[in-house]
């Protein structure tokens, strides 16, 4: 029980740190997309983001100013500048987002919705679509058959998973649409998809997974 409470606390703590780095703008692109998609699905967490941004504004006012090399020239250049143009977004390609499973941030990043993912079967009941390595992150979408257990694995570095559809549970809790699960190398978790519907998620990892557990457990998972 004790350790379960600690895990939950750890989990919340990590989400705070993730949001803090999102606010600071130092997350790699895939992790930023994951947080943006999360905020679309859980708009209540926007309050935390706004609070951190307000703090950052206060910090900006408190910081020791750094003198400019040539203040007058820079000011003149600003007055001489033309208005920055906006990027023309290709709205034509994007269908109406009504009824889409993927939040807009994720849709824009991967270019399709849940129904059009070119899945590859990894093992019975478990499919993935690899987006490859982006800014030092390994990025994929995953699909778990209802009731299926994914083999035990630990992580080198950390893994962020955003649930997009369905839900899964592991030793630390239950994650539904919009929830982020954070696993680091201290966590050995075996996600189990809820019965009833497949679980689809977006995962951002630091490094490739390594399989753990006894051979028997693994085979049990695979045959599952």
């Amino acid at each position: 029980m004790e350790s379960w409470i600690r895990m939950v606390r750890e989990h919340i703590d990590t989400i705070d740190s993730l949001l803090a780095r999102y606010v600071a703008g130092t997350l790699p692109t895939p992790a930023r997309v994951l947080v943006e998609a999360h905020l679309e699905l859980k708009p209540k967490n926007l309050i935390r983001v706004r609070n951190l941004e307000a703090m950052a504004g206060l910090e900006l006012m408190d910081i020791d100013p750094a003198p400019l090399t040539d203040r007058d020239a820079m000011l003149a250049a600003v007055f001489d500048s033309s208005a920055p143009e906006s990027v023309a977004k290709s709205v034509a390609a994007a269908p109406d987002d009504h009824g889409r499973v993927f939040p807009k941030a994720l849709y824009d990043f991967v270019g399709f919705d849940a129904a059009d993912v070119p899945w590859r079967t990894r093992m019975p009941g478990f499919k993935e679509y690899e987006l490859g390595d982006i800014e030092g992150c390994h990025v994929n979408l995953f699909w778990i058959k209802p009731g299926r257990t994914v083999p035990a694995h630990t992580h080198e570095g950390s893994e962020l998973s955003l649930v997009l559809d369905g839900a899964f549970s592991d030793s630390r809790g239950h994650y539904g649409r919009g929830d982020i699960s954070v696993a680091d190398d201290s966590v050995d978790h075996r996600p189990v998809a809820d019965k009833g519907q497949p679980c689809i998620g977006f995962a951002v990892m630091d490094a490739p997974l390594k399989l753990t557990g006894s051979l028997r457990q693994l085979i049990g998972d695979i045959i599952g």
Partner: protein, 191 residues
């Protein structure tokens, strides 16, 4: 930050937006440009690069001051968001000077319910108080997380503190911030 200063800066931004007031802009420039440069240098940008980006942010302020809505945030917070988003763009891709129309900092202001407005006006005060209530040893670390965006291990390397200490202090700090800010949110809905 005093409310007088905050209101003064917002008034200057309005003068820039409505009248293209160069004098008002120069005052904003003298206040913010050296602070933005300092902030960007703390993010380990070279001084010349930091100045270049500062100029870009000031160009956004000069042309898009009308997008700033004092009911939603302070001008400092708005500029922080512009700076952050411009920096991400600069790291990621071309330096074409184009703006992303989806950039939340540049969204046209929408009418807000009266409650939202109160929320926005009081937010700065509440978060400042919450930060002041943190023990300094926690405040320093949490600032490095949300302002400079450092990871736990970077903070540990920078400060020389053990990673476990960094993690536990930051955890305590965020729990405390959440408690004071979210209790206040709850209180506000009663009024």
């Amino acid at each position: 930050m005093s409310n007088d200063l905050k209101e003064r800066l917002a008034g200057l931004a309005e003068a820039v937006a409505v009248r293209r007031d160069q004098k008002a802009f120069a005052e904003l420039f003298d206040y913010f440009a050296p602070r933005l440069k300092s902030y960007l240098q703390r993010l380990r940008m070279e001084p010349s690069q930091a100045e270049e980006l500062t100029q870009e942010i000031m160009i956004v302020l000069w042309h898009k001051a009308g997008m700033f809505d004092p009911a939603k945030s302070s001008l400092a917070t708005w500029l922080f968001r512009v700076a952050r988003n411009r920096r991400i763009d600069a790291l990621r891709r071309d330096r074409s000077g184009r703006l992303d129309p989806d950039d939340p900092a540049l969204q046209p202001s929408q009418p807000e319910a009266a409650d939202d407005r109160i929320e926005a006006e009081q937010r700065d005060e509440r978060v400042r108080k919450a930060m002041l209530d943190l023990p300094e040893e926690q405040a320093v670390l949490v600032r490095q997380a949300f302002f400079l965006g450092l990871s736990h291990s970077q903070i540990a390397a920078d400060t020389g503190l053990p990673l476990g200490t960094v993690k536990s202090r930051i955890r305590l700090a965020f729990a405390r911030l959440r408690r004071s800010l979210e209790i206040d949110d709850g209180d506000m809905t009663l009024h």
